[in-house]
Symmetry: C2
Subunit: 526 residues, 2 copies
Amino acid sequence: MINWKNLDELSSFKELESAERVCLPEVMAGEGGAERVKKYCAPMAEGLAYNYAAKSVDDSILASLAKLADEAQLLDKFAALYNGEVVNTGEKRLVLHQLCRGQLGDDVIADGVNKRDFYVKQQTRIAAFAKKVHDGEITNAAGEKFTTVVQIGIGGSDLGPRAIYIALENWARKNNALKMNAAFISNVDPDDAAGVLNSIDVPHSLFVLVSKSGTTLETLTNESFVKNALQEAGLDPAKHMVAVTSETSPLAKNEGYLDAFYMDDYIGGRYSSSSAVGGAVLSLAFGPEVFADFLAGAAETDKLSKEKDLLKNAAMLDALIGVYERNILGFENTAVLPYSQALSRFPAHLQQLDMESNGKSVNRFGEPVDYKTGPIIFGEPGTNGQHSFYQLLHQGKDIVPMQFIGFRNSQIGTDVDIQGSTSQQKLCANVAAQIVAFASGKDDENLNKKFDGGRPSSIIIGDKLTPRTLGALLAHFENKVMFQGFAWNVNSFDQEGVQLGKVLAKKVLAHDTDGALAVYSDLLNI
Amino acid sequence: MINWKNLDELSSFKELESAERVCLPEVMAGEGGAERVKKYCAPMAEGLAYNYAAKSVDDSILASLAKLADEAQLLDKFAALYNGEVVNTGEKRLVLHQLCRGQLGDDVIADGVNKRDFYVKQQTRIAAFAKKVHDGEITNAAGEKFTTVVQIGIGGSDLGPRAIYIALENWARKNNALKMNAAFISNVDPDDAAGVLNSIDVPHSLFVLVSKSGTTLETLTNESFVKNALQEAGLDPAKHMVAVTSETSPLAKNEGYLDAFYMDDYIGGRYSSSSAVGGAVLSLAFGPEVFADFLAGAAETDKLSKEKDLLKNAAMLDALIGVYERNILGFENTAVLPYSQALSRFPAHLQQLDMESNGKSVNRFGEPVDYKTGPIIFGEPGTNGQHSFYQLLHQGKDIVPMQFIGFRNSQIGTDVDIQGSTSQQKLCANVAAQIVAFASGKDDENLNKKFDGGRPSSIIIGDKLTPRTLGALLAHFENKVMFQGFAWNVNSFDQEGVQLGKVLAKKVLAHDTDGALAVYSDLLNI
């Protein structure tokens, strides 16, 4: 029996409130610091590791967090989710993105079908379609192979697939797995679609239209934009487009598309990279085997996320350290800092994943909560960020917890030795140095050159960014966000906060406004 | 006589602390709200306007902010800066980025030369060089025209020029001003350089190496990376590279480059887009006339920033409203949300500009300050963000002030009419709707669907994003950050916070580590 309690009702939370704080510069110093870095490390899937030595925790706080995990029944709630309970209570929906990559518990039957079978069937259909495109069995009207795939979607239909494509593009080129180039059209700004169409080979492009409901304003508008361009080029849009949508949407079984692949209401947009939303574009770009590897990595993480020992469950541990930082230490932000250019858009995806899931002020019963919920997420790749906003992270007035990500090896493997070290070694040396600089600081008589330290970070370390490790990484953050939502007792799977803007935008376009909104509309010449 | 006082020593600041707060949903309602949107609008350069109706201010608070501007002597400090005083006290340097685009006061003589003449001379030299490249007078060894320009730089040598290039690429293509494609290599991650080199036509590429000191680790490493690639392709690196650096750096007057263009110590990296750092790559990509237009727009903003009437000085007003939000209302972040896909990397540039300038904890005399300084800056283009992190902005536990940017017209002009409106109208309708949704909110019995409102934003509105309006926009934010730095009494022009990481990274690469750092180095296989 699950009790959905607010965080501040838990006795372990009160215990944490009164627990002694950790002084990071002290615990990270000397041999004790070295031992700590060795010890405070949790295994992750695919050989990744979550090292939290530079977080403001100690054995006592970790023990309280383990109590909190029990008291908040985090694993029971996860089990309820993967066994098919209606965890998204606001929208009265199941939450099944993990089921796209593996079955963790009972058979889940919904809408009269076994949902695991449904997701696997879509993967199989997509794989067969992609093979035909790659083999030249499905071509443009002139019988020529498609060379480019263009995703048309916004939000979850854009950020995740785009971040994954960018993360694997160089890896795929190196490993002869780049079957098609991918491009993305998302914004309703007409310059987005026009700019992308100017930069691609339209007659050899296959467009993937992604909208669960089949009614997303931006996406349908961009579809029309693209169809116009195809027609102006003398091409038949129906021969250049596939749809990813729900079976009940107007885009399903529609002669305007070469084919349609299905998702359902149990996959939230921001969790949809593992579904047909990611599957179609990524299988076309890299081949279905690569997408299968990505899912396999994610499935490994999902299994580990069932682990009862908090210290061996990296996603749950990461989640609870985040709760401790947000609700006890009072930090408002988290910076995501991958030392990997390939992950340049991964922070933007996590920004959606986290902020849209847990940026809430009411609990799952619609009652206001008296504690902070999801943090603000931002980030850029290192070392670039070091030459940008790190100044504030080191010496600003507010403390920003950091999530570093680093890999021992580059994806392409081409490197150069300068002053006795490779670029990859320089990259890794920088992330190691930053962790210690932030945690330990450095004294100086000139206060402008003094570093207080005490700025907490964790790092996820891997051997190389591959489809499997990327899948494992993504699932780690998805599950972290899920566990945090459970701890905060919010519904991480709806997004009512996006509705009001949509309603008002429609009024503006209908010229049904008065007051301030009418004047803004005038100023913008609408 | 200028008094460099801390913010909390000013009587106007105490006045603001005790001033009555503005209730945004109230003041934005009805006809009063309409009047407010018309009235709370400050002119900017190049036809832009700064509308702050949805900020939590009223006439009384604005009057106090005007007092603060006087008491903090913001305009006197700006005058000291442009007249050539040593405003960057930490590094004992003048601050002259505005002088690259126009002279606002006295002749500035430093290093024995008139600095305005020096900057203009570099612009002229760059223009002549770019013309020769475009006209085929400077070619590769095979006598073929260069088609691509690649900037090698990091931080300020990357973010600003890259954001500007992306902002104007579609505009240039539409207006036959795209002379060369541009690419950028920044990260020491070897996959960055390798990935860019894989995607460009190396034999027809001209590389611009940008490092003021000529010693930036990432940039020199990437230079070697590129030189290797050129040599492997049988090309002579000296025929494919120019340098942008200071006259005293090892890159100056060096036979390894086709030519060198100069900046100096009075141009901070994050303010260097107006100098040769932006000038070389942008003049090569778009032609020197386009870069001149960009500078002209910025110069117009600079002139307006001298305006004594706070309500007519948009940069100073924006700055002081930000101080009010940070120090009186207690907000920690600012989201920059351009409704323009072309400005997709503009928030990343502003993130550096703002956080590296004002993310400080000591005043210009090196004494700790007891108040908050620069905020955390993040952002993505709208409407994309609406389908991502806006959930938290609307319904999260923390209030995040927002800076919207919108244009009445698209750059390319290709558009599509769906359901009675164009994409551009939909884009503008959305930003108008968001401002009102954030400010006014909406009640609902279901608290999950309730919007509290009271979430402040401003919007900069323009007719179209062009080189001139972009210059005006960039200078607005540069001057805003400068005025805020004056108000907070910090030195906005140094960045001592980046030093410790550099020192520790060198130790790691020299294997001169112990304790925690040594273990991290092992974990990362350095």
